[in-house]
């Protein structure tokens, strides 16, 4: 548990732990070229299918740009889901979780390291997806305000990975449910976030669907990035998105911290923190 007041030494120890976890993630994820190629190439297959579907029903070429951005953002959701939310499950299965728990650092610093490493790794892959997508499908982009795109992108990642921290605590005590729950949170989230739609906040999309989708930070960030990168809009049209992303982070972070402490203490009481093969 993270103490309320940190000494300088404790802070440094936690930052070192975060750095160490980030380093492992960066090194581990990039040592296999096949993995890197697959993580860039695979989304292009799905993106390609949707771009051709758009053409089949007569939507304009700019709509293809929306799919490419959506496909790139999905890489972050997948990373949050499989390498952040379900990470404690994997660590328990491989016998590492107890080592994290006895280490003299906050679990939040370990999660922070995972988030930093994961976001850097996935950014490289997302950039590859966008560049490859633009090259293959020749869709037009209209980027008028790159600084705001960068700001919205960073805020989206912060909110998304904070949500991943919250999920990590919930997944901590899962057995085989972890695998199935992570699977379950893929396509439904792609649908709710409108990742493959031209726009989620369109009049034809039911309000209930838009409201449910807005609970996922990716939906808000994705819509803002599309407005900025495809429609040439400026910060004036996306400030509500920026506020919503900041609010998401401010709500999710303390929730994640509380949930992590609660689940850890519950796991200790029930003796489930070292259970394998459930």
């Amino acid at each position: 548990m993270l103490p309320n007041t940190l000494t300088r030494e404790e802070l440094l120890t936690n930052l070192r732990a975060a750095y160490a976890r980030m380093w492992v993630r960066l090194k581990g994820s990039n040592k296999e070229v096949t993995g890197l190629v697959a993580e860039i190439g695979l989304p292009i297959l799905t993106i390609g299918a949707y771009v051709i579907l758009y053409q089949a029903i007569g939507l304009p070429a700019t709509a293809g740009g929306a799919v490419i951005i959506g496909g790139a953002m999905i890489a972050f959701w997948t990373n949050v889901l499989w390498n952040m939310s379900s990470q404690w499950f994997w660590e328990r299965e491989s016998g590492n979780l107890e080592m994290y728990l006895v280490a003299p650092v906050s679990r939040m610093s370990v999660l922070l390291g995972m988030a930093m490493g994961g976001s850097v790794n996935t950014s490289i892959r997302a950039l590859g997806i966008v560049l490859l997508g633009i090259f293959v499908f020749q869709v037009p982009f209209q980027l008028a305000d790159p600084l705001t795109v960068g700001l919205v992108f960073v805020l989206t990642l912060v909110a998304l990975y904070t949500m991943g921290m919250l999920f990590a605590s919930i997944f901590m005590l899962y057995g085989r449910e972890a695998w199935n729950t992570a699977n379950l949170l893929q396509e439904p989230v792609y649908f709710l976030s409108g990742a493959y739609f031209p726009r989620i906040y369109a009049p034809i999309v039911p309000f209930a669907l838009q409201a449910a989708g807005s609970l996922i930070p990716m939906t808000i960030g994705l819509d803002a990035i599309r407005r900025l990168a495809l429609n040439g809009e400026s910060i004036a049209s996306v400030w509500p998105h920026i506020l919503a992303l900041i609010a998401s982070t401010l709500i999710l972070f303390p929730l994640a911290r509380r949930a992590l402490n609660y689940m850890e203490s519950l796991g200790k009481k029930e003796g489930r923190l070292t259970l394998r093969w459930q």
Partner: protein, 288 residues
């Protein structure tokens, strides 16, 4: 090995696989889980078409409702691909690394092949549940809830056309799943990307959400050798969404591609098995 022993071993493998995949939760939640993913996939493409219709992107309303019916059927039956590819691609990794039982299965007399088949059949059952529930929910949502009058009548399906196509399609998918298992026996780096790669290729090239005629000419020959292309054509013909006159030629092409896939699948698996035995790969650990 006698056929009876093979069937018995495959049956036991099916029983184990079914328990592993289903007893982590109660049956209602399990059924919900089985339908939510394919239904969400379907809703993604359906909403794209609905958004397209709302901006009047193409000719007339009839085009969209017919296209939606075509798309619902293709997307629903694609669940077989997803279930079998993802299930069989991860099988070797899970049994070798996570549960550490692959070596025990291998040293039991003649159980590896029926074991793989039995576990593959669990994915087939999961796929069938997904297909049926997705079709029922689609009709309920688009015709019942949204009153879109999509020309999709589940009671008028020609089962004499549907059943042979589905059986052949499942055999071909199991044969491809067999190849994925073979690759994973000799490799410990592909387990998390193989299933997604193959199902992604089938999604793009198999005519799941758009007719393959819309693909660039240079990739169409690949579509023409994939069993999934003919499976989906034959299935759509049995639903009356494509002219039935091409059914026999699609079924013949499906039978031929299935036979070729089966031969390649068995050969690749046997080669992988020999190599794994020679290099001692059946108990290799790849997690740390």
């Amino acid at each position: 090995m006698a056929v009876a022993d093979f069937v018995k071993s495959a049956g036991e493998s099916f029983r184990v696989g079914w328990k592993i995949e289903s007893n982590w939760t109660d049956p209602v939640l399990f059924a919900t889980y089985q339908v939510i993913r394919p239904l969400a996939s379907l809703l993604i493409v359906a909403f794209i078409v609905i958004i397209g219709a709302s901006v009047g992107a193409s000719a007339n309303a009839a085009f969209y409702s017919q296209y939606l019916a075509w798309l619902i059927v293709g997307n629903a039956f694609y669940a077989f691909v997803l279930q079998i590819m993802l299930g069989m691609a991860i099988l070797v990794h899970v049994d070798r690394t996570r549960y550490e039982v692959l070596k025990n299965i291998y040293i039991s007399p003649g159980t590896l092949h029926p074991y793989v088949i039995g576990r593959g059949l669990v994915s087939v059952v999961n796929g069938a549940v997904s297909v049926i529930l997705t079709l029922l929910f689609s009709v309920a949502i688009f015709n019942g809830l949204l009153h879109m009058n999509i020309p999709l009548n589940l009671l008028s399906v020609n089962l004499l056309m549907l059943v042979p196509a589905v059986i052949l399609g499942i055999i071909s998918l199991l044969a491809i799943g067999y190849m994925l298992c073979a690759v994973n026996i000799v490799s410990n780096r592909m387990e998390f990307i193989l299933g997604d790669s193959v199902s992604g290729i089938f999604f793009l090239l198999g005519g799941v959400i758009f007719p393959i005629a819309l693909l660039p000419a240079y990739v169409r020959p690949i579509s023409n050798v994939l069993p999934i292309t003919y499976l989906l054509n034959a299935v759509r013909e049995s639903f009356g969404l494509l002219p039935a006159s091409s059914y026999m030629s699609d079924l013949a092409s499906l039978a031929l591609t299935t036979l070729v896939t089966l031969i390649i699948g068995i050969t690749v698996f046997r080669l992988a098995e020999q190599r794994a035995k020679k290099l001692g790969l059946f108990d290799r650990k790849s997690e740390y």
